[in-house]
Amino acid sequence: MAVIDIRRRTGYLFLAVVVAHVILISTQVTTRRGVPMLQEAVFGIFSEVQRGANAVTTTVQSSWQNYFALQQVQEENERLKQQISALQIRLQQERNLAQQSESLQKLLELKTATELKTTAASVIAGSASPEFRTITVDKGNGDGVHADMAVISPAGIVGRIIQPSPRASKVQLLIDRNAAAGALVERTRAQGVVVGTGTDELRMDYVSGSADVKAGDSVVTSGIDGIYPKGFVVGQIQSVRRGAGQYSSIVIRPAVDFSALEAVLIVLTPPSAVEAAGRGADQDH
C-alpha cells in the first residue's frame, strides 16, 4: 500500500513538473517580448562563472606553455599574430573598396574608405547546448557593445551579438540554424541570403536560377541586413544545384573556422552610420 502511495505521489510530481515546464514554454512562445528575465539573470551570473572557469583554464594552459616554451618567443609570436590579424582586417576593407570602385567604373576613389570602429574580444566559452551554435565573449555593455552588432574575424564574418550583459556577450554564430545575413556573389554581384544550417556549412537562398553562379565563387556580405558591414567575406561556394524551381540551391563553405575561434572583433560602428559616411564622402567628390 505504501509503495502504491509513493508511486502515486511520484506520478503527481512528474505531472506537476511537466505542466510547469509547459506553462514556462507557452509564456515565452506566445509573448515574444525581448529577452526573458530568467535568461538575462542566469546568463549574467553564469558569465561570471564562465569568466572564472576560463581564467583558471587559461592560467593552467599558459603556465604549461610557458614552462615548455621560451616566454619571449611566445610573446613575440602573440604580438606578430595580432599584427597579422589587424593587417588581414585592413586587407579585407581595401579589397572591398577595390571591388566597389571597379563596379562603379572607377568613379569612386579609394578616399571613400569606410573606417570601421571595432573592439577586440576574447572567446571565453562555447555553447551550453550542442544544438545551438553560440559563443560567449568577454566584452559587454560596459565596453559599448549592444545587441545586433556584427562580430568579425580576420577570416571573415563570425556572427552577431544577441545578448549583451555588463561584462560579457553572447554571440550567435553564422552557422546557427537561426542565423542569416544578406550576401552577394563577389564576381557577378548576384544577391541572396546566407543562412546557417547548424552544421559546418552555410546555405545561400533566394539566388535566381538564371544567375551566373558557380562553385569556387567568393561570397561577401551585401550590407542590406543592417547588421553586417558590406564587403566582408562569408565563404566560398562549394556546390550549385539548379532545380526545377525559381531559385538555385547553393552550399557555401564558411571562410571562418568556427571550431578554432579565440579572438574576434566586434564592430561598434552601426552599418547605417558607415553607409551614411560613405554617401557623405561621395557627395564631397
Partner: protein, 167 residues
C-alpha cells in the same frame, strides 16, 4: 548533502561543457555532459531526484543557450524520470546495460528536444541523425567512464588507508 552533490555535479558539467569542451574539441562539443550527469543521478538516486535535477539543469542550460527556456528542461526532466524508473525496475549495474541506457536516454532527449522545437515551429532540424548518433555514443562513453571512476574511488581510498596502517 546528496542534493549539494547533485548541484555541484551539474554546475561542474555546465562549466566543463562551456569552458573545457571549447579548449579540447573546439567551439561546439558533440557531447551533452549535463545530460550525462542527469542520467547518472537518475540511475543512482531514483526518478524523483532524476526528474528534479533534469528539470533544473535543463532550465539553466536553456537560459545559457539562445533557445526557449523550458524545452531543454522538460526534455531532461522526462529523461531523468524515465531513467530513474528503469534504474529502479531493472538491474543497471553492469557496463553494457548502462551504455545502452545512456544511448537510449540521449536518443529520447534529442527526439523530445527537437520534436518540441519543430512542433512549436521555432526551429528546423534537417537530417540530424549523424549528430544525434555521435552525441549518443559520446555521452555513453563519458557516462561509463564517470561511473567507473566514481565507483572505484571508495575502494581506492580504502586500499590506501590499509597500506598506510599496515606499515
Amino acid at each position: 548533502m546528496k542534493a549539494a552533490g547533485v548541484v555541484i555535479a551539474i554546475a561542474l558539467a555546465l562549466a566543463l561543457q562551456t569552458s573545457l569542451a571549447r579548449l579540447l574539441i573546439g567551439g561546439t562539443a558533440a557531447l551533452d555532459l549535463v545530460l550525462v550527469v542527469v542520467v547518472y543521478v537518475a540511475l543512482t538516486s531514483g526518478p524523483v531526484t532524476g526528474m528534479l535535477s533534469g528539470s533544473a539543469a535543463g532550465i539553466v542550460q536553456d537560459a545559457l543557450s539562445s533557445g526557449t527556456i523550458g524545452i531543454g528542461g522538460l526534455a531532461k526532466a522526462i529523461v531523468g524520470f524515465g531513467a530513474g524508473v528503469i534504474g529502479q525496475q531493472f538491474i543497471v549495474t553492469a557496463a553494457f546495460p548502462r551504455f545502452v541506457m545512456f544511448i537510449v536516454a540521449t536518443l529520447v532527449h534529442s527526439a523530445l528536444f527537437m520534436g518540441m522545437y519543430m512542433l512549436l515551429g521555432l526551429k528546423e532540424f534537417p537530417s540530424p541523425w549523424a549528430a544525434v548518433l555521435s552525441q549518443a555514443i559520446g555521452n555513453a562513453v563519458v557516462g561509463i567512464v564517470a561511473f567507473a571512476i566514481v565507483e572505484s574511488l571508495p575502494g581506492a581510498i580504502e586500499r590506501r588507508r590499509f597500506k598506510r596502517s599496515s606499515r
